[in-house]
C-alpha cells in the first residue's frame, strides 16, 4: 500500500517535472505555431492594409487569390522548384555518399569541401551567384565559352531562371551526402558478401540492399527538402526579385510582396494559410506513405 502510493506519487512527480521541463516548448508551439496558423485564417477573412482596423470581408481574399494569375504562377513556380530540387538533391547526395564510401584515402578533404557551402549564408551565396552566373563575366559561362557552348543568361532568361534557383539549391546537398555516408557505413558487409555468393552484380546489390537501407535517410532528406523548397525566398529576393516575367515569383515572395510592399495583409495571410495547408498535406502524405517504402528493419 505504502509502496504503491510512492510509485503513484513518483509518476505524478515525473509528469509534473516532465511538463515543467518541456514547458518552454509548449509555449513556443502555441505562440509561434498554433497562434499564427489560426491567425492566418482569421486575418485572411479581412481586408487589412496594416493601418487602421481590419475589415471583415469573409472569403473575399480566397476568391481574389483564385482569380489572381500571379498567385497561381507562384504556386506553379514553387512546385516546379520543389519537384526538381528535392529529387535531384537526394540523387546528388546519394551519389556523393557512394563515391566517398569507396575507401578513397583523402575522403576527409572532400567531406570538408562538400559540406562548406551548406553552412555559407544563402544571402551571400545568392550575391556571389549573380556574378558567377553573369552571361559574360561569370565563371560558368566562361567554362561554356571554352567548351564552345553558347552562353546562358541564367538569371535573365525566364526559361533558365528557375533552373538557376534549383542549381543554387544543390549547394546544400553536401551535408545530406555526409548523412548518407554514415548510413552506408552502417550497412553490414556480410549482406553484400551473401549477395555476391548469389551472383548479384553491383547494380543489383545497390538496388536490393543499399537503397532499401538508405530509405530512412531518404525520408528525412525529402521532408527537409520539401520544407525548404516550399518556403524558398532569399535566393529569389536577392537574385531576381521574382523576375524575369515572374518566372521566379515563388509563393513565399508573393506573400512577402503583398504583405510588405502592396499593403495587402489580409490577402497575404490568406495565401500563407494556403501554403500552410499545402505544407501540412504533403507532410502527412509523406509520413503516411513512408510505411510502404521506408525500411526500418535493419536500420
Amino acid at each position: 500500500m505504502e509502496k504503491r502510493r510512492k510509485i503513484i506519487s513518483r509518476d505524478l512527480r515525473n509528469l509534473l517535472f516532465g511538463l515543467l521541463f518541456i514547458s518552454p516548448w509548449i509555449v513556443s508551439f502555441f505562440l509561434f505555431l498554433v497562434y499564427p496558423v489560426i491567425s492566418n485564417f482569421q486575418l485572411g477573412m479581412t481586408q487589412y492594409s496594416g493601418f487602421g482596423e481590419p475589415q471583415w470581408t469573409g472569403f473575399d481574399n480566397y476568391r481574389q487569390l483564385g482569380r489572381d494569375p500571379l498567385f497561381w504562377t507562384s504556386l506553379y513556380n514553387t512546385f516546379y522548384y520543389v519537384i526538381l530540387a528535392v529529387p535531384l538533391g537526394v540523387a546528388v547526395a546519394i551519389a556523393l555518399a557512394l563515391a566517398m564510401n569507396q575507401k578513397v584515402r583523402e575522403v576527409a578533404l572532400y567531406r570538408t569541401l562538400l559540406y562548406l557551402p551548406s553552412i555559407a549564408p544563402v544571402f551571400a551565396l545568392s550575391m556571389i551567384f549573380i556574378w558567377l552566373l553573369n552571361p559574360r563575366y561569370g565563371l560558368f559561362n566562361y567554362l561554356f565559352h571554352l567548351l564552345q557552348i553558347p552562353a546562358i543568361d541564367w538569371l535573365g532568361d525566364p526559361h533558365w531562371s528557375k533552373l538557376a534557383m534549383v542549381l543554387v539549391a544543390q549547394f546544400g546537398a553536401g551535408q545530406f551526402g555526409l548523412i548518407f555516408l554514415t548510413a552506408l557505413r552502417a550497412i553490414p558487409g556480410t549482406l553484400y558478401d551473401a549477395a555476391s555468393l548469389d551472383g548479384a552484380g553491383a547494380f543489383r546489390k545497390f538496388w536490393y540492399i543499399t537503397l532499401p537501407l538508405l530509405t530512412p535517410v531518404i525520408l528525412y532528406d525529402i521532408v527537409i527538402g520539401i520544407g525548404l523548397g516550399l518556403q524558398v525566398f532569399v535566393p529569389a529576393y536577392i537574385m531576381t526579385g521574382g523576375g524575369p516575367v515572374n518566372s521566379t515569383m515563388f509563393t513565399a515572395l508573393y506573400i512577402y510582396k503583398n504583405a510588405f510592399e502592396y499593403s495587402q495583409i489580409g490577402l497575404a495571410a490568406a495565401a500563407s494559410g494556403i501554403l500552410f495547408i499545402i505544407n501540412a498535406v504533403l507532410a502527412v502524405t509523406i509520413f503516411w506513405s513512408s510505411k510502404y517504402w521506408v525500411n526500418y528493419r535493419l536500420a
Binding site: 509518476d11 509528469l15 521541463f21 566517398m100 544571402f123
Partner: protein
C-alpha cells in the same frame, strides 16, 4: 585460381576508386566554385573586373578592395549587430533546447511520446527559424501590437523557447546515455536539477557544441528576420546591410565580393575549427 579472383577484385576496386575520385574531385570543384569566384573577384582591380574573357586568377592582386569595402559602409556596426544576434541566439538555443530535450528523454512520464509527435511535425514549418514565410504575417502584426518591431526581441525571444530540430537532435543524444547513471544518482539522493547539471550536462557537451554552432551560424546567416523586423540602419545585421548596400549604392562587384568574404570567411573558419563536432552532429540528426 583464388589469387586470380583476388587480383581481379583488386583491379575492379582500383578502377572503381579511380572513378569515385574523379567524381569527387569534379563535385568538390563545383561546390567550392562560388567561394573561389568570390575570393578571386574580391581581389581584382576595376579594369580586370570588366574584362572578357574573365581571368581565373587576378593578374594584379588588389588588397585595397577589402579596406575600401569596409570603409564604404558601416561594416563594424553591422558586424557588432550580427555578433550580438548570433551570441544571444546561441545562449537561448543552448539553454532552452537542453532543458526541453532533457524533459523529453531523461524523465519518464506518461504522455511523453504523445507530446513528442508535434515536435517532429513542426520541423516542417520551423525549417526557417525564428522567422518563416508561413507565420511571418501574423507574427509581425503580433510584435507590432507589442511595440517590439525595430528591435531584436522578435528575432531572439523565440530562440529561448526551443526549436524542434535542436530538441530532436539533443533528445537522440541524451537517449543514448544509460538510464542507470540517473537512477544511481537518484538513489544517492540527488534531485532532478542536480542530475541534469552534474551528470547529463557534461555528457551532452559535444551535442551542445553542435547546437551552439548551428544556432550561431543560422543567426549569422538569417536574412528574412532582419529584413522584416529591423527598420533602422543602426540595427542592421551584416546580412541586411550588405544586401541593401548593393541596391542603394553604385558599387563595383569586387568591393561587394570583398565585403561578402568578410561575412562568409568567419563561418568557414568556425566550421574548420569545429568540423569534427559538426560532422558527428550531423549523424545525430539523421533520424535513427
Amino acid at each position: 585460381m583464388d589469387a586470380a579472383v583476388q587480383r581481379n577484385k583488386a583491379r575492379t576496386d582500383l578502377s572503381r576508386q579511380l572513378l569515385a575520385r574523379l567524381f569527387l574531385i569534379a563535385m568538390s570543384a563545383f561546390y567550392i566554385s562560388p567561394i573561389y569566384w568570390m575570393l578571386v573577384t574580391a581581389l581584382k582591380g576595376n579594369n580586370e573586373l570588366a574584362q572578357f574573357p574573365p581571368t581565373l586568377w587576378p593578374r594584379e592582386i588588389v588588397w585595397q578592395n577589402f579596406e575600401q569595402a569596409v570603409r564604404s559602409f558601416p561594416f563594424l556596426s553591422y558586424l557588432q549587430n550580427s555578433v550580438f544576434y548570433a551570441a544571444l541566439t546561441v545562449l537561448g538555443s543552448v539553454l532552452s533546447n537542453f532543458v526541453i530535450a532533457y524533459g523529453f528523454s531523461r524523465i519518464k512520464w506518461p504522455g511523453r511520446d504523445l507530446f513528442f509527435y508535434p515536435v517532429i511535425a513542426s520541423i516542417f514549418i520551423f525549417i526557417h527559424f525564428p522567422v518563416n514565410p508561413i507565420t511571418m504575417v501574423p507574427m509581425f502584426s503580433f510584435f507590432t501590437r507589442l511595440g517590439l518591431v525595430n528591435s531584436y526581441i522578435p528575432l531572439i525571444a523565440p530562440t529561448f523557447f526551443g526549436n524542434p530540430f535542436f530538441i530532436f537532435l539533443l533528445r537522440q543524444f541524451m537517449l543514448q546515455i544509460p538510464t542507470e547513471l540517473s537512477d544511481a544518482a537518484r538513489i544517492d539522493g540527488a534531485n532532478e536539477l542536480q542530475i541534469m547539471g552534474r551528470i547529463i550536462l557534461p555528457l551532452t557537451r559535444p551535442a551542445l557544441v553542435v547546437v551552439a554552432l548551428l544556432a550561431g551560424i543560422s543567426a549569422w546567416n538569417d536574412f528574412l528576420g532582419p529584413l522584416i523586423y529591423l527598420q533602422n540602419d543602426k540595427l542592421y545585421t551584416l546580412s541586411l546591410g550588405l544586401t541593401f548596400f548593393k541596391t542603394a549604392h553604385k558599387i563595383e562587384f569586387n568591393l561587394l565580393m570583398a565585403a561578402s568574404c568578410l561575412v562568409v570567411l568567419p563561418v568557414i573558419g568556425l566550421f574548420l575549427l569545429f568540423q569534427r563536432f559538426l560532422l558527428e552532429g550531423i549523424n545525430l540528426g539523421d533520424g535513427r
